[in-house]
Assembly symmetry: C4
Homo-oligomer: 502 residues x 4
């Protein structure tokens, strides 16, 4: 019979020499695990001696504990009666100043409403994770306003009796031209987690990308997928390539996953101060909180700190490989998966062109600035799309070009498509939908966006996604800010040299 | 003698199986009418068992009841003593937070004052209808700011002793170069309704377009028209063409109506959230509330709802035909009216050019984004006008080009005229005028705008409308945002192909 | 001995049939004068039966009474004991909400401070007059922001030991390159009036233009002028040309007045709503209040009013001739004065070019949109200056080009000069200076602006006004908004035809 | 034994005839020194009869007293018991309205946090000095927003395992590409003063420029410098050249000082109203407060004052030579130092080109508008850098071009470098760091900026400073506002004539 410990006993082990934590009613000795924790030892030590379940659970897929710790680490059970009474964080009570009425899901008319409802419901910590972006949020803001600066050009006397929002992604039929971008830690928003998103996607025929760092296992996420339901799986290559190779093998066994999405726009984390400040308020940050958003490592611990500057950041980052290159990474990948590859995080026409030279292994690219979470003042995807049209439009014929970031309206979706995007990714919106109402909230997000997209198409005089073209938009206000070659020669030289750089 | 019912008796009939309503003191059984109601059965069912007069009256022209229901549907009278005491909506009391003094009509110095006064006076529901526009109101806002970004170029040493604001529309003399755009449900603002607008127009020699969905019959609106007073009648083609054909025949008999205005910019409704949210507050929305603004079907019920998503929207929309085309609609129209045609809602130079090829049947076009109520981020009329000047200026010689949307000042009127518009339509302003003070309020709107227009002309050194030209305005700030051909070739190809597409 | 009346007796005469007013302790019968009052009878009738001295005095030069009324109109004296106790307008008490401390003149560091101090000190009525501009104040605002959008280009390694702000206007030496624009009703701000401004100008060697409608006579204004002090006199041509001819003859006798400034940018008044609303608060508007700002007739009574729309406006305007033309006015002027002419209110390069063809009679022009008080959205003077540089730079060589409107800083002065202006006019600033502290306040305005101008010159590396040139400014942000020829051909045609139009 | 005075005795000497002050517990008779005080006698007289230590100390380097006064001026000691109780300025208590919690240094996540913390801690007077800039702060604001308007262009698939922020300045190795610009009066922020900054720089391998008017002597600042630590010394040439020559000789003896930075952008002080108004609150301004920011004379006393306008300003300015020229100053400098010269304050490409012609004596230039403290609306350094790229890019090859002003983020640093700057100067940030926490606060500033710079480099796919280039930024939004040659010919003419002007 397992030994039972009191809270006071556990509290004696709060150092790097002896570090215990309580998880799911059990007591673990994690001392020997400290050095190998992907997020660094410090974060665990902050929770040492306490019941860390609440912090641990929403961000670790089931099985993580068993994978990480030897059986012997489990010391026994905690006597639940000895645990201190839970205290609700006063910070969370006063989060929104005065009490506001929370909108019900049906009352939410647009994605801003959804975000507002979620903001009122989810924890301050979860909000900090989802809302935050790099530095001064300039790219995050620009991601949205860039769409507002593009005008539509509705045509008249077009029969719009029928309107069909379906399209294909890499040859797979989907009902809507937008998809769910890879987003980690969905269970932080709601217990339905990534699987709840999958169920909502099934209902609306939408594609979903599964984060490398999802809070549920890939098998759990795709469980019960509808016939024809399309998933992609996001890969962050680990320095320990073996780990990534094992995951690729595991994914290969899931027929619902149709491609690998290799994320490239966050080789190091951006600096997300909203996230940071939230941490300062509720200072117990768990391990995997290090992976955020679409799964990139959080900036949390890279913020310089007087004593241990950089140390924790490096530890946190130990897992993710910063040394990917055109020459080495794609060939390695070819050895370990025969699924098509989609590259995520391209922000220049040069890289889009380079990617197109890797067809057919690379079948698509996602233009993305990581939701504004990586380099602040990085260009919105629309800029990169216009750059491609300007300098190397053939890319659009050779591979599929998707965009993400800043989508708030059906008109935004339609504009991206009219400019040449094949698909449009949603990052924060499904997470806020989950926060606002679990699976039902995500369904509302998809329902709103589908209806808005249909309305926009009909008012443009367009019956099918494939009919959308440049003649339906006026992007002049944006075009004048698009990259113009620097000193010209340099840009030219680079384009000439592109192929040789491979 | 008619039977008399108590309120409690009527209250027993609140289902699709047996649905009674009270109108004008009578009790009607509308059960068999439910499926054929243009706005769908749901809206009637919400009012089932109650006195619906207050909701029904302001938006249904007299005679609608008799047209729609057989004699047998009228069951008898209501015992007025049994009706519940009317309750004033608390929402309306607190509409403007604290009590503000309402400006009198003479105190209103400009159209913003008029809107403010009306906002304080009219019901929350009416305000929601009038104020609302698509999505984020970007087009609505842009409609106005685009004029503020155009500069005037006043000339000196010009004799401006005399100033004549008169002009002609389709050959008919009018005293002012602006006109009242088609606007439905005027009686929601004030009992004077569309006829009150007509009387004000008579006083100022202004043209008025009558909405297809006016809250008074066309015969009522034009009753007592002054000699020379000019009207147009707006047509929304119905899926049941016979209904439209009957209306066209009826209009043909009204000599004051000089042309048919075929509205094309709202084949499906835009998404108007202010309208929506108002509905949520005061949840009894009557049938014809489905037609809004210049008469387009409201977005009210197309917003997805968890259970019955789309159902009501489709019902509401059953009446309006979404299948109009250049090839079929104009020939059909030619068979049923010999009045000239003005096409409303053009938003691209391509469509303006196509329209000009249909002269002389088509005598004019109205550049309009439907007051920003259809596709949000659709271009303001000034953009389309500048596009026409840029790509196909001959259109301006072949047909009359009118604009509407965003007019707030006499300088706005003068700018549109200087850029080539023959007439300038007013959408919300007369409705707000009506709300602020009935017929007198509309007169004040016309009086203010006429005085401002005269002042602007004199200060420009212009004595007659026909003297206004490009040299009087500097639109450079706007020109740089005007459509520039997309990828150029595509635009060119389209212009070459335009005629063959007919 | 003069008869003495009680207040009650005077109160009996408050109609168009018998209209008495009290002025300076005397009682006048002004009945027969009513029809010929330049500002219309209505304004007098509003003051009928009362002591109108307070309203009359600050805006009528001494001698006006004697000129306008026959001796017989003076009926006698008022018994001062019978006058009602003066009541301070409660509106004025609460003008600024809570009590603020008023800055002393030395505490005022810049022209905004001066305006703020004056706003706290002067009457609500006077503030309304000075502050107001056309419609939505777009031109007024643009007048200032256009300077902020021009960047300076300071040079280094230039000896700036000495800095000389002096220059010449029409050959007359002045100490500063800015001057006081014609502004009426200075005594509304402070009893020192236009003469107080003249004294301040003497101290700083600044030129002053005297308004046609000054609240002091030209003789009073120039009394005690310093040797070399330079004045211009502003002319509004009267429909009754004889009146203007008499004034020209009278001005010819004042050697300090060196030229005639013919104002052309307000042939009719703009619409000044701040002015209007102030009137509504304090409803006693005196006669000459009709002339405002630099002396143009106020918009006060042209705002449409339910009953008498336009009537008062026309009356008010009866005096000012709206029929001036290139062909007739300058030759007439040549017959009645041999002083050089400066034309004020040019807003296009076409008119600037036309003016230059009239040298040497016309020796200068003032680019001005009347302080934003005439046509709203008229271009700021800087726009017109840049237009001239673009289309007809020779104008700058043939006549002197001055600008006014929007000057708030010495850097603004320097920018205008660098772009080619010979002089820079100040409109509201000296009036606010007068309001803030009489003559001393005006001195502070000139002192601040002179010091700021010197600093800007030194930091640019410029020792003399004549050294300033295009290389010292970067106006690209403004240049892109400058008129670009409309359809080009039209503009070209006009320029070709300009000479023949004379 | 020294005589001891009571406070009352000292109070008797408060006039120009007999002026005593208390400093460091001693009583001095400064009557004979009054006329030769660089800041004018007035400022001393304001402190006459009082203990001026608090005002004197933070802005005078040790030794100033001994240099300035003969031994005989020291009259004796003050009886400290007779001094009045110090009163805390009530203005300072209420500076921020309500009590706010001050962020600790580790809590400060970015430079805005640092400024906020410093603002709460330092005196109102110090804040006024540091925060203030010319006129309306337009240049100060633009300095920062210009960076926000430049977009980054991150590249993917680049190995960013290693990131090296080191570079060289004039051949000297430094660890970070940013440096501390010359800033006077550091001890006003914190007793650690300029030496505290030097210690922080040592820790982060950053270069520091020492202000000509530092509050510590150059010897004190560089005391204990690390091997390889790099300093520059800022020179304001004095009218009395001998004084400057003596300083140059003294600097020559400090091996840590590698070059002379000759500041040229403030030949006269700009107008800094925040500084001014602070003075009005706390009216005791000490002598050397006349030198501010990077050491330029403050505008404090040049603001016109009713009686003595200009007088104090001139006195204050007596020391700094306004007569520097290309032809005379550099040759003179060559005679008195063999250290390389860096010219600071260039704002046009013309001057940059001229400077490059003086290589190798001139080894570098700093593009700077003096932190917006000189001419308001002067261009930000980025504008000048883009001008150089446009008109004379060879300058970048011939001398080092550094920039300063507006740096708030690591992305700003990276953008400046990508555009061609070799180094990036920090003006206010280290001072605010000092204010927020002395040496530790400065370290935090450098730590934050270094971490942000590394993150930006990695996310761009850049491993070394030298790899940054135009392809990493999109500056189109800024480029369109860059100087465009004025009338073209003039600009051309100037460039042709540049060499001959030497």
């Amino acid at each position: 019979m397992a030994k039972t410990f009191t809270y006071d006993e556990v509290q004696q082990h709060r150092s790097a020499e002896s570090c215990w934590v309580i998880l799911y009613g059990n007591v673990y000795d994690v001392t020997s695990f400290l050095p190998s924790h992907p997020g660094g030892s410090k974060i665990i030590l902050q929770l040492a001696g306490t019941d860390a379940t609440e912090e641990y659970d929403p961000i670790h897929p089931p099985g993580t504990l068993e994978e990480s710790l030897p059986e012997s680490a489990k010391l026994g059970k905690i006597d639940e009666n000895t645990l201190p009474a839970e205290e609700k964080s006063p910070a969370e009570d006063t989060k929104n100043g005065q009490e506001q009425e929370i909108m019900s899901i049906p009352e939410c008319l647009n994605l801003d409403d959804i975000e507002q409802a979620a903001t009122q419901k989810i924890s301050r910590k979860a909000w900090g994770y989802y809302y935050s972006a790099g530095d001064d949020l300039i790219s995050k803001t620009l991601n949205n306003t860039v769409y507002q600066n593009i005008l539509l050009r509705p045509r008249i006397f077009v029969d719009c009796t029928n309107c069909d929002t379906s399209t294909t992604f890499l040859g797979h039929k989907v009902s809507v031209p937008f998809f769910v971008s890879p987003a980690a830690m969905a269970r932080l928003a709601h217990p339905d987690g990534e699987h709840g998103i999958a169920e909502a996607c099934a209902k609306y025929g939408a594609m979903q990308l599964i984060s490398n760092n999802a809070s549920q296992t890939p098998e759990q996420v795709v469980a019960g997928a509808q016939p024809g339901q399309v998933f992609g799986w996001q890969l962050y290559v680990q320095t320990d390539r073996k780990k990534s190779e094992d995951m690729l093998a595991r994914i290969q066994k899931l027929p619902a996953v149709k491609f690998i999405c290799l994320t490239l726009d966050a080789p190091v984390p951006g600096k997300r101060e909203h996230d940071e400040r939230t941490k300062n308020v509720a200072s117990n940050l768990p391990v995997r909180s290090a992976v955020m958003g679409d799964g990139s490592p959080s900036a949390a611990s890279t913020t310089p700190e007087p004593e241990s500057s950089g140390g924790v950041g490096k530890a946190l980052f130990a897992g993710t490989a910063p040394d990917l290159t055109w020459k080495t990474t794609l060939p390695w990948l070819a050895k370990h998966t025969n699924l098509p590859i989609v590259l995520k995080g391209l922000q220049t026409h040069e890289d889009a062109y380079l990617a197109s030279l890797h067809a057919p292994q690379v079948k698509g690219i996602i233009l993305s600035n990581h939701g504004g979470r990586a380099a602040d003042t990085a260009p919105p995807a629309v800029h990169t799309l216009l750059e491609i049209r300007k300098y190397c439009p053939s890319v659009l014929d050779r591979i599929e070009v998707w965009v993400d970031g800043g989508i708030r309206r059906g008109t935004d979706v339609v504009k991206a498509l009219a400019l040449g995007a094949k698909g449009v990714g949603l990052g924060r919106a499904p997470l806020f939908g989950l926060g606002a109402g679990g699976r039902e909230g995500v369904e509302r997000v998809l329902e709103i966006l589908k209806a808005e997209t249909e309305t926009a198409m009909r008012l443009l005089g367009v019956g099918r996604v494939s009919e959308l073209g440049l003649r339906h938009v006026n992007a002049r206000k944006v075009e004048r800010d698009v990259f113009d070659g620097g000193d010209g020669l340099e840009g030219l030289a680079e384009r000439v040299a592109l192929k040789s750089r491979l």
